[in-house]
Symmetry: C2
Subunit: 556 residues, 2 copies
């Protein structure tokens, strides 16, 4: 069997989290499969686990080592968790990138930004057009989501047809992008589906999904009822929502102004590619300044509480000449992503202090999700009747719940988390290999490994503070002068009432005065002894064990 050709599936990211999607498919003899990569996304750092990090990527080492076998990089849609890593890894992967027009527009800009050739991004037509990539025939099946031209992938392989859903919902009127088309899905499934690799984001939501188009009247009513300025926020990349908001504002008779760079860039991209040709007219912020506030609606970035985005700036004061006041209304037309609650609440409370009425999505009137809920997923399971279901795009608990739903419908289902390679060639999926995976951080301009200790050291400094102790050893291996300490992130004065640096320096001096010659000539011994001395005095004085850097300068 080992020499027989096989169909493999290997998630490198996205299967075990919501974010940084990256899925590999391969066909060929073991170790010689021709490969394609579906999506290469990012996820976002947080202060708890990744302070100072700019972006988080999946560890692509496995694929980079096999880049010579990579036929194509295929992108399902333009959200950052699917497209955000392309330009950061293209130099190492060097395969052509394929996607639809709007996604291509975003991908090319990203390639250019990082000095890659934008011509490596190729625009493809949707299903039934077929992209040939090595042993694979790939069709981009239009699906409804919250950004234009989102696609599932119909991947025809020598072992049968795989349907990789990408992000999707079942929306008959999604405001932007193509509506859900059951007939098209039937057509795709007609000759049998080997494997359905399926979005799991909303598997815990037990009610059927609602259409984006249900929101516009609710929001327009809210705008009409509001007396002051009306401001709404959502993800800039939720282009459907941006359009819904703009249409609602327009319907309520207000002039609409977009604010925040990401928002302007997205709508611009939509206009340039024709997918937002019918976007309502908008005004610039200078013009907005001159309008009576009750005639104005702003649509702004920062729905997740991002400190530098328009929402946060408006909560603190003036932004681009506009300032919220008593009686204005602020709408969060968005869901708060777990982990962002405190930041969002900080903003809500700042608005409350200004007398601004804040409306969130708790009523369900002003926000719908872009992902399929459990009943919708179950409907798709039935539509496709695949031989096997492989849940993706979700935390472990979601993959698990989704697999349970598949099994309940009599479909063989398997949980394959990042690094789990499945052989899909047979009647049932088989785990055939475990690949080392993980995360890579963009830190400034560098990519650093999640486990190389850089971020761990930052967290330690943040928790414990930092002490630097410098000593000079002269030509005769004797201490020269007194040690010198600097502390950062620690109290200046401890229990004794003396400055902490002085206590540390005194303790260091005492250690040196008592140190044996064999310690004084040995940097390692000297360093560890001094570190211990510093920690001990810090515990006595302030009750903390700081990170300690000992600098030994030897006059040679």
């Amino acid at each position: 069997m080992s020499g027989a050709e096989r169909l493999i599936y290997l998630p490198l990211g996205g299967a075990g989290e919501v974010g940084m999607n990256a899925y590999v498919y391969g066909w060929g003899a073991p170790g010689k499969e021709r490969l394609i990569l579906v999506d290469l996304g990012v996820t976002f750092p947080d202060m708890d686990t990744t302070p100072g990090v700019d972006l988080i990527f999946p560890d692509m080492s496995w694929l980079i080592e096999r880049a010579d076998r990579l036929e194509a990089i295929v992108i399902t849609h333009g959200h950052e968790d699917h497209i955000g890593g392309i330009a950061h890894f293209w130099q190492e992967l060097r395969a052509p990138v394929y996607c639809r027009r709007f996604t291509g527009h975003l991908a090319r800009a990203k390639m250019e930004e990082r000095g890659n050739d934008p011509e490596q991004v190729h625009v493809v037509e949707p299903f039934p057009a077929v992209l040939e990539a090595g042993p694979f025939g790939i069709s981009f099946l239009p699906v409804s989501h919250s950004i234009p031209e989102s696609s599932a992938l119909v991947i025809d392989t020598p072992a049968g047809r795989v349907v990789h859903t990408g992000d999707f919902k079942l929306d008959g009127a999604p405001v932007v992008g193509e509506p859900f088309n059951a007939e098209l899905w039937h057509e795709v499934a007609a000759d049998g589906v080997k494997a359905l690799v399926c979005d799991s984001t909303n598997v815990f939501v037990e009610t059927p999904g609602r259409s984006e188009s249900t929101l516009v009247n609710n929001i327009a009513d809210l705008v009409r009822k509001s007396s002051g300025m009306f401001v709404a926020t959502t993800f800039a990349s939720n282009i459907a929502r941006v359009k819904t908001l703009a249409e609602a504002g327009h319907a309520a008779g207000r002039s609409v102004c977009l604010m925040g760079r990401a928002m302007l860039r997205m709508v611009q991209a939509g206009r340039e590619t024709g997918v937002l040709a019918d976007f309502p007219p908008v005004i610039g912020h200078e013009e907005a300044e001159d309008l009576p506030r009750e005639n104005l609606m702003l649509i702004v970035t920062g729905s997740q509480g991002e400190r530098r985005a328009a929402t946060a700036q408006l909560s603190r004061g003036k932004y681009l000449g506009l300032e919220l006041a008593e009686g204005d209304t602020f709408l969060f037309s968005s869901k708060t992503i777990p982990g962002n609650e405190r930041g969002v609440l900080r903003i809500v409370n700042a608005f409350s202090e200004r007398g601004v009425n804040v409306v969130d999505d708790s009523s369900s009137l002003y926000h719908v999700s872009g992902h399929a809920n459990r009943p919708d997923l179950e409907a798709v399971h039935e539509l496709m009747r695949p031989e096997m279901l492989i849940p993706m795009h979700g935390e472990h608990r979601m993959l698990r719940r989704h697999a349970e739903a598949g099994e309940a419908a009599g479909i063989v289902s398997i949980i394959a988390t990042n690094g789990t390679m499945l052989d899909l060639s047979g009647a049932r999926p088989v785990v055939c290999e475990h690949v080392e995976t993980g995360r890579v951080y963009l830190d400034g301009v560098l990519k650093i490994g999640a486990l190389d200790g850089v971020v761990r050291d930052r967290i330690r400094m943040a928790l414990n503070g930092h002490v630097m102790l410098s000593v000079i050893i002269d030509e005769d291996d004797e201490p020269l002068g007194e040690p010198w300490a600097e502390v950062t992130g620690l109290a200046e004065t401890g229990r004794s009432g003396a400055p902490l640096v002085e206590r540390i320096e005194a303790e260091g001096a005492q250690f040196l005065s008592r140190a044996a010659d064999k310690v004084l000539i040995d940097d390692d011994k000297l360093e560890s002894g001094l570190r211990r001395a510093v920690r001990q005095v810090a515990v006595e004085e302030i009750g903390k064990k700081p990170e300690v850097t000992v600098v030994i300068s030897r006059l040679a």
Copy 2:
């Protein structure tokens, strides 16, 4: 008017957040009021804003400066956000502490732990007994909450009666503590209430509160349906829930084992004070190890994802000899506090990987809140019909919404956040002073100010990393040898491919070689020049601007 005696209200903590409650009342001529303090609680740090901090207190400076006028410290109940700061400030406040028996038990332990005299804590009887404290007569009115002997305070003053609710809900069968007693509240309100100072935590919840007693059957049913081990978590200080869980486990025929130090301590305190005399029998963890897992129910600490608590340890592996396995059930009988979502989800996913079924409170079957919801608050407004309503215990948005509810009922309502002193003597509350307030951090064994820069420096090191550069200047004000760099929390190698420390040292050496004499003799100039040089090379090499400590050692 300035010489007339007046009744003042001054929140120092708790009015603008949920946590660190501390409310001052005073009566007397302005600046000479005799004072009482109601509660002195803590709030908890997070990595975003307070890394490395152990606890957060309100800034008590205003009261400490006036400690000679403080008649009493009165504690409504034993939750940390009401009692946790008592022992940390007692030396500076030195007033007798009054509370009911169970709260006193906890308070005394806290006093002893920090070397204070536990005899300063005095146990009082509930309403109608009256504690005389200067110009105030204070009664502890039993209210239903989630910890035994919770009390509202009926504070009689020369200007009239103030009712300070503390934390409460309207529960006719609260499992522990006294049930809500409408007649008692009527009696309190009969002769008129000047001001109702009222819990605002749940003002956004629009359904009437549910009784703790509704849970036991739901939970027992869930336990009966579960085949493997059953584990439930809640706040250790939610003693009502701990008892509900134990009773449900018992009713389902399981042996119950409590795990986690806080849990054991709380139940112990309840037993010792008699308020948990009817707590079901429990077994120790050694005994639990020997039982078949389907006969066992654990009740454990760590519902908020705390990394060292029992729940987190069980999600990672063995804890006190017990380990969860495929088919076991884990119940979060708790609400996740905003900010803790990621930590809790990390644990849920870890359980999912072990095949453990996780049940959370999304069904509302297994958790109820300990606070009054909006309809309950409105009922209390009607019961009391106070002259004025002062919302407390809540974020600004909650205080605001609560004040709106009061105004809608025709009650004069005012938002007074931390530091806002109100004069309650007249028919309407009047803001008479703004007091400097803020937060104080317990950091190791020290109290440090929130604004003194210590935590800011930690956050900067966490975001930017840290570089230490050491140079030696000899007796002739010339550099001696080469500069020496150490980096922490930064990548080892930058864009040039050379080690970052070497590039920094080379840049430092170059700066020194070009430095004019007037720079070399001036520590400030030398330091700022070197810092700039280090930052510049760091930006070139790694694209980050690190925190820089420059150490200049002069051989005198």
